[in-house]
C-alpha cells in the first residue's frame, strides 16, 4: 500500500520553517513532543499540530512509549517527492543541451522586471 502519497501535503509540510527545523532535529534521532517543543517560542499544541502535518505528509512516524509518543523520520514522504522531482531534473538536464536554452541564456534575463528590448 502506501501508494499515492499526497504531494500537496508533503511539499506544503516542508514550506514551513518550523516544520523543517523539527525535521532537522529528528535527523539526529528520535524525540518526544516536549523535546521538540523546547527550542521554539511556541506552545506544545502548536508543535503537536505541526507534527500532525508532518505525519500526514509521510515525513514522520510516531511510536508509543507510555504517555510519550516519540517521533522519528519516515522515508515515504521524501521518496514521493524525489520521484516527482526526478522528472524536473531530467527535463532540466535535457533542455540544457538544447539550442533554445543556450541562446536564451545568452541574452537573458534574470527574471527581473524592467528589461528593455
Amino acid at each position: 500500500m502506501a501508494m499515492t502519497m499526497n504531494l500537496d501535503m508533503t511539499f506544503a509540510a516542508l514550506a514551513d520553517p518550523t516544520r523543517r527545523a523539527i525535521l532537522v532535529r529528528l535527523a539526529k534521532g528520535e524525540a518526544t513532543v516536549m523535546e521538540l517543543t523546547a527550542p521554539f517560542k511556541m506552545t506544545q499544541p502548536a508543535i503537536s499540530q505541526h507534527l500532525k502535518a508532518l505525519e500526514d505528509a509521510g515525513l514522520v512516524v510516531s511510536r508509543v512509549d507510555g504517555t510519550r509518543r516519540p517521533r522519528r523520520l519516515a522515508k515515504v514522504g521524501i521518496e514521493a517527492m524525489d520521484q516527482w522531482l526526478e522528472m524536473l531534473r531530467k527535463a532540466l538536464e535535457k533542455n540544457y543541451n538544447r539550442l533554445d536554452a543556450v541562446l536564451a541564456d545568452m541574452e537573458t534575463t534574470t527574471t527581473k522586471r524592467g528589461e528593455r528590448r
Copy 2:
C-alpha cells in the same frame, strides 16, 4: 549571486497542483502564458500569478519576445531543495542502520491513531 534561495517559497510553490502541472508542461519546453493557461479552467491572471510564485521560487525564468514572455524551467530552485533534502536522505539512511529504528519498526506503528500497547 543567487545565494540563499528561499526554501519557504520553493516548497510552497510545489505544494500547489496547478503550479506542478505548469512545471510538467514546461518540462517539455518553453511556453507562453497563453499556452500555459489553455489547459486549465482558470483565467489568465490566475496563471500569471502562479508564474510569479514559480519565478520567486527560482523554478522558472522568463524571456522577452515582443509582447510575449515565454517561460522555461530554472534549476536554482530545484538545486536549493535538493541540497536541503540531501540532509534528510542521509539521516534516513543512517538511522535505518541503527538499533532504535530497527526495533521501532518491529513493534510499530504506521502513524495511525488507535494503537494499543
